[in-house]
């Protein structure tokens, strides 16, 4: 399993670059062009990152989460889900930047190779901003009755979160 994980990245790069060379495109110039776009994109998300980090850090530093967890703790019972992951799981469907900010906090506090750090990484990777995507896509074609789209999307996210938890236990 570990080898399979490690082989994905190098394999990807070699396929992409070889295919580019085979198709006779200027791989170096194309790379530079794409990298420049990436630079612009990263800077353009900076305001959103500031906004989200600001709100989330205030929320986390106030320890309101601790109070909230005390309230719902009896409901969670025996599930040994680390509490740090809960706000991330709740915010993931709405804002990718918010969940990214929480993942950053988790890495800072526990390290990326801790259980919760790995769980956060997998969670961020296996779900998407469901609510945002549905609002954007249906909004552009002016559909107001979305039927069961949102619920199925959120159900899929929930399954993803549970599987992420199980796999983190299995893999590491």
């Amino acid at each position: 399993m570990e080898i399979a994980s490690k082989i994905i990245l190098p394999l990807f790069i070699i396929i992409i670059i070889f295919y580019g060379v085979k198709k006779k495109i200027n791989v170096y110039d194309t790379f530079l062009e794409g990298a420049k776009e990436g630079l612009m994109t990263t800077f353009s998300i900076f305001p959103a990152v500031i906004a989200m980090i600001f709100a989330i850090n205030i929320f986390l530093d106030s320890n309101a989460l601790g109070g909230l967890i005390k309230l719902i703790n009896p409901l969670l019972g025996n599930i040994s889900m680390p509490i740090e992951i809960i706000p991330m799981a709740l915010l993931r469907p709405v804002s990718g930047t918010a969940s990214l900010a929480i993942m950053n906090d988790i890495f800072k506090g526990f390290g990326p190779d801790s259980f919760v750090g790995r769980l956060a990484s997998i969670l961020q990777g296996c779900t998407d901003t469901t609510v945002y995507v549905i609002a954007l896509y249906f909004g552009t074609v002016k559909i107001t009755k979305i039927k069961h789209a949102l619920w199925v999307g959120l159900f899929a996210d929930l399954v993803g979160i549970i599987v992420a938890f199980v796999l983190t236990n299995l893999f590491f």
Partner: protein
């Protein structure tokens, strides 16, 4: 919606800390927050720039289109209601392929075009059609082969093996996609029976 959540997080944080006497902590937090955001961006920047460069090669060389073509026979089966040779299927495959490669900027335009095509063949213009819902379920399950931002952050925090989460993440995505598509299928079948 994001606006409400944003205001909620700040509001709850400030009020809770006032009530519990954590006022010093919250002051410190407010003043140092913006620096954290800059750190985060700087951590993300190098890996993202590298990957967008590499993925641009995949896009320009036609590898992305080829990948989309490979996907379309599988996707065909999920969308029995879309007439054969309709453009929507092509856009849907491009969208899913771009999402898989982490090319968000290429995925969204293809996705919106797919929605427009689906709206053309939609009977009731204000109501989501079956293929639209299936498409969005697939899309929001978020299959990503190379999760660039996550890798970037793991590298920045000195992970011993930044890529180790890729495989479990793909497996978890596969499970959630299958769960979403299956649930969608059963809801559709039940609705048909009642009609």
């Amino acid at each position: 919606m994001v606006g409400y959540i944003w205001a909620f997080l700040i509001g709850v944080g400030v009020i809770y800390s006032l009530c519990t006497g954590n006022i010093n902590v919250i002051n410190e937090s407010i003043l140092s927050n913006a620096n954290d955001a800059l750190d985060l961006i700087l951590n993300l920047l190098p890996t993202i720039v590298l990957w967008t460069g590499i993925l641009k090669i995949a896009e320009d060389s036609g590898l992305l289109d080829k990948f989309a073509k490979l996907l379309s026979p599988i996707l065909c089966r999920l969308f029995p209601d879309i007439p054969k040779n309709n453009k929507a299927l092509g856009y849907i495959s491009s969208n899913i392929a771009a999402n898989m490669l982490g090319l968000g900027s290429a995925a969204t335009p293809a996705g919106l075009k797919a929605m427009n095509e689906l709206q053309e063949i939609n009977q009731k213009k204000d109501t989501a059609s079956t293929p639209m819902i299936t498409f969005l379920v697939l899309n929001t399950a978020g299959v990503t082969l190379i999760p660039t931002t996550i890798l970037a952050l793991r590298v920045a925090y000195n992970s011993a093996s930044p890529g180790e989460i890729i495989l479990p993440a793909i497996m978890a995505t596969a499970c959630s996609s299958v769960a979403g598509v299956t649930l969608d299928y059963f809801i559709r079948r039940r609705n048909r029976k009642w009609k």
